[in-house]
Symmetry: C2
Subunit: 345 residues, 2 copies
């Protein structure tokens, strides 16, 4: 059985093609009775508009791309699923575009992608989204985009953005450790080009300073967002002269690495050393002991990002209240688990 078209719907509802089109597109100039008839016909025939035809006809399009250059597959997969779900709800199709920001002209690459694939817009994930040179250049070319970034306040810039307040959340995580009695807390960075790393560090520092605890350079270590980087750094720290009583990893993979390092040194977690991560990755819950972390709902974040993008593209398609909103904040939430449950010794 082949697919129902707008034509079939028009026949069943006894109206013209155009009227059906109007109903589909939520145009206001349709009488309520007519609208109802049409909607019923749509329901009955299980009609769904054909993306190809829609994209072809207008210069509007119902396709967007998700652009990312992220080393963390857990993050990537989560964002994909969130955006994909939002796309389904909003009637868009999704094209994924993994890329490498460092080779070639990424601006040109994305601009060409938008033209060639007739895209309505881009959802850009960190860290590319945090490079203003890239996003500004695209925006100036008239390319619609929304950024997902890490920031502690609404970013400047013309393009809409969802900003994740990692700083506030890292502050909360650090507070939590301080309240457990820790005052020599190590901080393990992720990649520097991810703003999230810097923001999380800022939250860590702010919390320490608030409690009058000095930030010790020897406890703040750079590295990357990976299990192994966490393992190695924690190993060095914990087997050194003045091991920290708590370790705050910039994400859960780092924290999991730190956890493994602690165990390999015969240390008990949380009794001998407390460990906290960030991002609430699936494995953080099942680690032994489960990891304290901060949860950001990537699904909600992605959905909001799509909403902001769509309200740029078709202001009438979204509800009035949110139509003019252009920046939206998310604050990850502290999830205290066993890996930090003991009082510092």
């Amino acid at each position: 059985m082949s697919k129902a078209t707008i034509k079939d719907v028009a026949r069943v509802a006894e109206v013209s093609l155009k009227t059906v089109s109007r109903v589909i597109n939520n145009e206001p100039t349709v009488k309520e009775a007519t609208r109802k008839k049409v909607l019923q016909a749509i329901e009955e025939l299980r009609y769904q508009p054909d993306m190809s035809a829609r994209n072809l006809r207008g210069n509007k399009s119902y396709a967007i791309a998700l652009v990312y250059d992220n080393p963390n597959p857990y993050y990537v997969v989560d964002v994909q699923e969130g955006v994909l779900q939002a796309c389904r709800e909003l009637g868009y199709s999704l094209q994924i575009h993994p890329c490498n920001a460092n080779d070639g002209d990424i601006v040109e690459e994305l601009a060409e992608l938008v033209r060639n694939s007739r895209l309505a817009g881009l959802v850009i994930a960190p860290p590319i989204s945090e490079d203003d040179r890239v996003t500004d250049a695209l925006y100036e070319q008239g390319i619609h985009l929304v950024r997902i970034i890490s920031a502690s306040k609404a970013p400047d810039g013309a393009s809409p953005a969802v900003y994740v307040n990692d700083r506030a959340a890292a502050h909360a995580v650090t507070d939590h450790l301080i309240h457990k009695g820790h005052n020599n807390i190590a901080f393990l960075w992720g990649e520097e080009e991810h703003h999230s790393s810097g923001e999380r560090f800022a939250g860590y520092r702010a919390a320490l300073e608030e409690h009058g605890i000095p930030v010790q350079d020897s406890l703040v270590i750079e590295g990357s967002y990976s299990f192994d980087s966490g393992f190695q750094r924690a190993n060095t720290l914990l087997s050194g002269d003045t091991p920290p009583s708590a370790i705050f990893g910039c994400n859960d993979e780092i924290a999991a690495g730190a956890l493994a390092a602690a165990k390999s040194l015969g240390l008990r977690v949380p009794e001998d050393v407390a460990i906290a991560g960030f991002e609430n990755s699936p494995f953080s819950k099942h680690a032994q002991p489960p990891l304290t972390t901060a949860a950001q709902s990537l699904g909600d974040i992605a959905k909001k990002a799509m909403m902001l993008l769509v309200s740029e593209l078709r202001p009438q398609a979204v509800d009035g209240e949110s139509a003019s909103e252009r920046k939206s904040e998310f604050i990850p939430e502290l999830i205290a688990r066993a890996s930090t449950s003991a009082e510092a010794r």
Copy 2:
């Protein structure tokens, strides 16, 4: 600057629209001189055919979906990138379709997806691809698909498939351990519904039997493809009465978990216990010590899968030799690293 269309190309090349179309589609009835003129015009204008129009016109389509229900983000991301690259080369667009095989009627879901999104075909990844009920039902509905599965010989069934010979590779990994002098080698399963687990176990068993080493049930443990599952099982094994001298994890995450468990028990790897994984995940190379594993080039596998699919869809579009091929084998390759470099004690 707006996009070049077939019309522009025709004008520049001084031929008709249709002739350009013929050149694009590799139809044979074009004189060489004409073809050259057209190709040059295409080059000059940086013309790229418009997917929407193409899909709309014929009932053919140049869009495929990648269907997966895989718990491992590393695997998912790799397969995505491989298929995506093949799509670019072959002129297809890619739609990702993560799904949950267990809820709802997956056959109906996919059939509807194909109809609604006008898809030319599906690339199906494990474990869904390994459920014959699903793939047969789809194939009978006339839906073109290619499967990526784990098998030690070409599968029956009408649909084309790429089969990864995990059994042979696991055999090689086990052989490698045996040659190092190990004769009590533990095997840690992944999820049972992944054929890869069973195949890898079959390879493990075959290698042992070949060397006259009995398979000990107490060393073969079920679980899932995760770091934590590997950690826990290895922990139990290694702290038991008769710890194995080597552990073969069904994938690298399990092996990484086992590695962490060994370290946490104060065991040296590879001196006290050898550990091997599978899949050559990015972190296997950077683990301490680096993990012995088996490498499957997901990029090549995905590309081959797309080739098989396309040769179904448009036999004339691919070279003659490979046009009739419908099953293709890949054998992951043993990568010996430090985690198994010592002789068994």
